[in-house]
């Protein structure tokens, strides 16, 4: 497999501009002859669908939820970065680019990241015009907050529900196009296979989740904006329905999967409380602006936090990283929390937790001031834990939150299957080995509003696409495969539930491929996962039939794919003999316990190619070069 990144060369400031000029255009009268399938209706898929329809393409948009407004982008809390420099604090496109490349631990493409930083300013303009109610100053201008990994205030926000407001903006733009008839929306539809004809992506097979009917949809190009694979860990901050099925089926049809071991652990989540737990809840990183993280100095100190005097508290982030303090990037903050708990200084009944304390912020800003910034987060914390964070410090612990890996894409966001695009969290491109806070919303919207709508035209204008219909053999084969899997599940008379398998799989990957990884552990996981997968296929039980709303059947298909995905993720983690960003291999660390990269051998994106059932995947490498931001040991000290 040849990986052509198609990145422009020359001065980085003008690369995107020049590339756009070189892209072929589809003239307005011809755009209406093309149909594009978009899977997913989150920030990336929703904004792409709306924008493609505005341009004149016919769009078919699919989501598994009952409405496109429910995509998981909605749960993003903290904000969206943009290099507006409204705060006059020295921000610039170059600085956002620099911070993102460095924050990603030098495993992202410079060209992509620079483009992202450039586009960030247009996103804010677009969202404001759509009516996104960003936070404002009394004079009526937009206000900002700071986020981890940056020393400027460049994060725009709408209270603690920025993702919701941006998604509603994209959703409204999408509904506007649904109203004009340019977008056909298919809610409660799950993509279960990709149709590839003559080497090009030409459609998808979906299951209508209400009726169980399996149907094919054909188009001139297919776009996957289906999010990340965090739920492979079972417990994550992802929505319960978030899954890797679309990208996994695309992988099995020839799209390379890049850097699956780059997963992000978010440092500030509500700790696990019991076995029944179905998901983890994130507390926005923005809380680290005003909250101070600490653990008791002494091991096994069980006094309530308010009785531990200042002198017996260890504000370990402020101590270890004086210049960034509580605002170090996520991977650094997560590992530091794990280290404190491993030393036996963790808090709460499980010992897996650290304090996030607002005592000083309340003294400084007053209770009202803190309330204005974080009230909904504080309320949510109290609802879940029954504790009042205005009075006792929050307890937090890291949890899986975001996945930087995903389908390999070139500069045009096209995967290794011609005509198949991947946008937002579903692709691998912009965050390297670690994503900075408030950059996921930025990337999703950049891809959907401002990148894909240009680049897809180049493919359509340059391709000769034969007319096809549903009678094509490839279509029928894909449909048969999907129907076969459904039958296999409902006819399997096993004894164990899907959820119990998912939980067990999640525990294996969290233990062996979570916050810290070792060669031995990963080998254990690679041996254990296929065993459990066989057990799954033999003993899983799925009640009901395939011809009705059957939530267990939906879940069974997703878990089956997680089983296969988990193995690839562990293989990727095992092959990468270095620590970088979210991938921390215990064997590779500095004497101070920081991640030690190996740029000589691993400065590449690992793009895995499917080789067939039960065959080991093939590793392809896209070398990464850094002309502007020179790789250095990341230091936030």
């Amino acid at each position: 497999m040849e990986l052509k990144s198609k990145c422009p060369t020359g001065p980085i400031e003008t690369r995107w501009e020049r590339h756009k000029f070189d892209l072929k255009l589809v003239n307005p009268a011809n755009k209406r002859k093309y149909t594009v399938i978009v899977v997913g209706s989150g920030l990336a898929g929703g904004s792409a669908s709306a924008t493609l329809a505005e341009l004149g393409y016919n769009v078919k948009c699919f989501c598994f939820q009952d409405s496109p407004r429910r995509a998981h982008s909605i749960a993003a809390q903290g904000g969206i970065n943009a290099a507006k420099n409204y705060q006059n604090d020295g921000d610039s496109i170059y600085r956002l680019f620099y911070d993102t490349v460095k924050g990603g631990d030098f495993r992202a493409r410079e060209s992509n990241v620079y483009r992202l930083a450039q586009i960030s300013v247009n996103i804010i303009d677009q969202c404001v015009a759509q009516g996104v109610p960003f936070a404002r100053e009394y004079g009526g201008t937009l206000t900002n907050r700071s986020f981890g990994g940056a020393q400027v205030s460049r994060t725009f926000y709408a209270r603690g529900q920025t993702g919701q407001q941006l998604l509603i903006g994209a959703y409204q733009a999408l509904e506007r196009q649904i109203n004009t008839g340019k977008v056909q929306m298919y809610p409660r539809s799950e993509m279960l296979d990709l149709i590839v004809i003559d080497g090009k992506a030409r459609g998808i097979v979906v299951r209508n989740l209400l009726t169980g009917k399996v149907e094919s949809h054909l188009a001139d190009a297919v776009v996957l904006g289906t999010g990340g694979y965090g739920n492979v860990f079972y417990l994550s901050t992802n929505a319960k329905g978030s899954n890797c099925t679309a990208i996994w089926r695309a992988y099995k049809r020839g799209a390379a999967m890049a850097n699956p071991c780059f997963t992000q652990i978010h440092p500030t989540c509500i700790p696990v409380s019991g076995d029944y737990q179905s998901k983890l809840t994130l507390m926005s990183e923005s809380l680290r602006n005003d909250g101070r993280i600490w653990v008791p100095l002494k091991k096994g100190d069980t006094r309530p936090p308010n009785q531990i005097p200042e002198s017996e508290r260890d504000y370990y982030l402020e101590r270890r990283y004086p210049s960034f303090g509580n605002l170090v990037p996520r991977d650094v903050a997560s590992r530091a929390a794990k280290a404190a708990c491993d030393e036996g200084r963790g808090v709460g009944t499980t010992g897996l937790g650290v304090y996030l304390d607002f005592g000083d912020a309340i003294k400084r800003l007053g209770k009202q001031g803190v309330k204005e910034r974080y009230s909904n987060l504080f309320d949510m914390y109290e609802r879940i834990t029954g504790e009042n964070p205005y009075e006792v410090p929050m307890r937090i612990y890291p949890a899986i939150h975001y996945t930087m890996g995903g389908l390999w894409v070139d500069y045009n966001l096209m995967t290794t299957v011609p005509g198949l695009y991947s946008i937002g969290e579903a692709n691998f491109s912009d965050h390297g080995a670690n994503r900075l806070g408030a950059s996921a919303l930025m990337q999703g919207l950049a891809d959907g509003y401002f990148v894909l709508p240009y680049t897809i035209g180049d493919y359509l204008a340059n391709s000769k696409l034969e007319r096809i219909d549903n009678s094509h053999a490839a279509v029928r084969d894909a449909e048969t495969e999907v129907a076969k899997q459904t039958r296999r599940f409902v006819e399997n008379k096993g004894s164990r539930s899907v959820a119990s398998f998912h939980r067990e799989l999640g525990k294996i990957v969290w233990d062996e491929c979570g916050m810290a990884r070792t060669e031995a552990g990963l080998k254990r996981a690679i041996a254990r996962i296929p065993e459990l997968r066989d057990e799954f296929w033999q003993t899983v039980t799925v009640p009901g039939s395939g011809e009705e709303l059957n939530q267990n059947l939906e879940n069974a298909g997703r878990v089956a794919d997680f089983f296969e995905f988990a193995e690839l993720m562990c293989r990727d983690a095992l092959h990468r003999n270095e620590s970088c960003g979210g991938h921390f291999r215990e064997e590779f660390q500095t004497p101070e316990g920081e991640a030690r990269r190996n740029d000589d051998e691993y400065c590449y994106a690992a793009a895995w190619e499917y080789a067939g059932p039960l065959k080991p995947p093939i590793l392809n490498k896209e070398p990464l070069t850094f002309e502007y931001v020179h790789p250095s040991q990341r230091s936030y000290k």
């Binding site: 409405s67 009394y138 509003y449 119990s500 039980t541």
Partner: protein, 256 residues
């Protein structure tokens, strides 16, 4: 804690449903939906069909979940979706009746799952600002007074769960529609389409067979996002003003 649940079971929209009693063992740290997960695992082990209910983020923001608990939409805890409702608010021996949202415009799909696509069609009728990608001025070009921006955000917090409709004796969608009309109408960007938006959205509400608002206020009482009744007043004002100044469109939409 041991609870008795009476749950509405209905296999599909065309088959009759009925309440079925179950008993379940829960603990106080679980969320309400985690308690239902436990029940469903029990049912699967017994070879019975698990209870279908919509849910996704389980953080109270996606708006997927929601059903009636003892006649109250999202249950007894104010400003809380059912996924964020924790079992510490219940005690052993409690008997709970779980029913889907009841409204003509929200047909039951299965068990506690209903079809809320009418809400999407109301938004499609006009719940947006028509600005195509690329044509926006600088974000700071239009100052928005903080007061209006905040009020707009209060209304925009709606998650589209449908509790307001379920709680309303008339099954009106006034709080939902008013929230969108307020969110956009309070911003300078939303002014050019303000009249048409009110006319078109209200017309769609009527077409979807939602009832009329008679200012009862149950919607506000159950709204998990604390959307205020004043959004309905704003909708009515925009609608009235639009019908006087925009007669042709008003005639087409034919009243609230």
């Amino acid at each position: 804690m041991k609870l008795t649940l009476h749950i509405w079971r209905q296999k599909s929209s065309t088959e009759p449903g009925k309440m079925v009693p179950y008993s379940v063992e829960a603990n106080e740290h679980m969320s309400f939906l985690e308690m239902l997960d436990v029940l469903n695992e029990d049912l699967i082990a017994k070879g019975e069909d698990p209870v279908a209910f919509d849910h996704d983020c389980r953080e109270g923001i996606c708006g997927s979940c929601g059903f009636m608990i003892n006649g109250i939409a999202h249950g007894p805890q104010p400003s809380t979706t059912v996924c964020q409702l924790h079992m510490r608010h219940f005690k052993t021996g409690d008997v709970l009746y779980l029913e889907p949202w009841r409204a003509k415009a929200f047909p039951v799909v299965r068990d506690l799952v209903v079809d809320r696509s009418a809400f999407d069609r109301i938004i499609a009728a006009g719940g947006y600002i028509s600005v195509s990608t690329g044509s926006a001025p600088d974000g700071n070009a239009i100052p928005v007074p903080k007061k209006y921006s905040d009020q707009s955000m209060d209304a925009a917090a709606c998650i589209g769960c449908g509790a307001c409709v379920a709680a309303c004796p008339n099954a009106a969608a006034a709080l939902f529609t008013g929230a969108k009309i307020s969110h956009l109408g309070l911003l300078p960007q939303g002014q050019p389409e303000r009249s048409e938006r009110a006319l078109n959205m209200v017309a769609q509400v009527k077409q979807e067979m939602f009832g009329s608002c008679t200012n009862i206020g149950e919607c506000e009482a159950v709204c998990p996002k604390e959307i205020k009744l004043e959004v309905i007043a704003r909708m009515n004002r925009d609608y009235l003003l639009a019908s006087w100044t925009n007669r042709r469109e008003a005639a087409r939409s034919d009243g609230i």
